[in-house]
Amino acid sequence: MKKFVNDVDAMLRESLTGLVEAHPELLRVEFEPTFVARRQVRAGKVALISGGGSGHEPLHAGFVGRGMLDAACPGQVFTSPTPDQMLAAAEAVESGAGVLFIVKNYAGDTMNFQMASEMLPGDNATVLVNDDVAVENSTHTTGRRGVAGTLMVEKMVGAAAEAGATLAECKALGDRVNAATASMGVAFTSCTVPAAGRPTFDIGPDEIEVGVGIHGEPGRRRAAHMPADAIVATLLEAILGDLRPERGRRLLLHVNGFGGTPLMELYLLHHVASRQLRQHGLEPVRSLVGNYTTSLEMAGASLTVTLLDDEFASLWDAPVQTAALRW
């Protein structure tokens, strides 16, 4: 395993320190327990806190800042953070209007955030993100995973919170954005968890993993490698089958790289996906292309579609000032 690392056990700490040193005006970091928070907390604003296993950078710490999150709790690589982190983060950024937790739907994340929520003295609510349509939804199972659509929830709820929305409004908005968002991805290669030191899965030189998760979890199926047009068609079929947008609907299209795929290919995917969406009579009017919800160095990408109305579009367009997203 070749990585830029000194001691695997110190990797997360050294990396978070580097993040904050690169954005000193924006961020601060605490350890024991670990969280990253905005340098300036705005009094009376709902505090948005997210978190999850590390290895998905810039998600979530890269989205802490004006117009998005107030704090992020990074766990070990691919391992949900622990309740003490969330409690400490909440204490640091809560400013009188309550705390909204934004949580990706994995057993580990939901349980740890749930315990934090139970222990937290003040008002709090949780938005569960489960945008991955590769996995069938069911209340009898863990349900769908939260993946790249988390960014849309964090961005739009972040804008609303900045504009003064209450905790209940933020919670309701988050649930609505999540419901209007669907994602699915494919992987070409595996990632390597630093502490494990070897690839999470084996995959042949002409195979792709369709519906892969963002932790190197296997997806729906193995398939032979296909042209970009066919891959995009497969992903959009599942996404649109879930969202069922009416013709003429305006959309936000997010092409997310998993970390090991060149930007050149991500933009190519954006072109192919926009074209196919228009062929379905839909209107991609907002775009985001890049590595935002990654899976370490995994090669591959996911598509995310969010159905837009005027409210969502203006929340998307609202200014944001974070390490990874700014406009």
Binding site: T79, S80, G108, H140, T142, P218
Partner: protein, 211 residues
């Protein structure tokens, strides 16, 4: 059961888990995300460093301390579950300074119930509970029957191994493997493997103990 036994058992579990590294790791790579072994190891390392702090405590307080520490150390799915086990055991034993086998068995049953609640899971979902629930039932039964420790241990180990292996033929409905549907078939659940290894290690440690 004294705290010394608990601490000794923890070290035995640590040794046994380390000895099974490659198997546990490869199971979570196959149907999970590859971190289960690392998560458990991290938890056990932190506990090992707490030996001096734990030994003077009564069992209930020791379990409580262990649960609290694991909650902020392991993370992932296994963290809150395993720490729920210990926290509930601590609660269950709060009144006893030197719990007897029955009380210990009841505490373990309470711990497993806590996992079921926290994980919203039960038998047959391809999780650690497939090993833990039968083990708790056995423990209660054996304590009632006052079965000699050596006999009880042999039965516990055998049953744990059998149940661990049985997860191989299950489709998961909880945890990360549930995303896989039928593709989880043919793979043992990593948490079940960990629990089987731990149960056997605890048994062996207790058998070695002078008390």
């Amino acid at each position: 059961m004294k705290t010394q036994d608990i601490v000794d058992a923890l070290f035995a579990v640590q040794a046994a888990i380390l000895a099974n590294e490659s198997q546990i790791e490869s199971l979570d790579r196959a149907i999970g995300d590859g971190d289960h072994f690392i998560n458990i190891r991290r938890g056990l390392e932190v506990l090992a460093a707490m030996r001096d702090e734990l030994e003077p405590l009564p069992p209930a307080a020791a379990f409580n301390r262990i649960g609290t520490k694991l909650l902020s150390t392991i993370g992932g799915a296994s963290g809150p579950l395993i720490s729920s086990l210990f926290l509930a055991m601590g609660k269950s034993l709060a009144a006893q300074d030197t719990p007897d086998r029955r009380q210990f068995a009841a505490a373990f049953m309470a711990g497993v119930e806590a996992i079921k609640v926290r994980g919203k899971a039960d038998l047959g979902e391809k999780t650690m509970l497939d090993v833990l629930i039968p083990a708790a039932r056995q423990l209660v039964q054996f304590a009632e029957q006052e079965l000699p420790l050596a006999e009880a241990c042999a039965l516990l180990s055998a049953e744990a191994e059998h149940n661990m292996l049985a997860t191989r033929d299950m489709i998961a409905s909880k945890g990360r493997a549930s995303f896989l549907g039928e593709r989880a078939l043919g793979h043992v659940d990593p948490g079940s493997k960990t629990c089987e290894v731990a149960i056997t290690a605890v048994c062996q440690s207790l058998l070695r103990s002078p008390s």
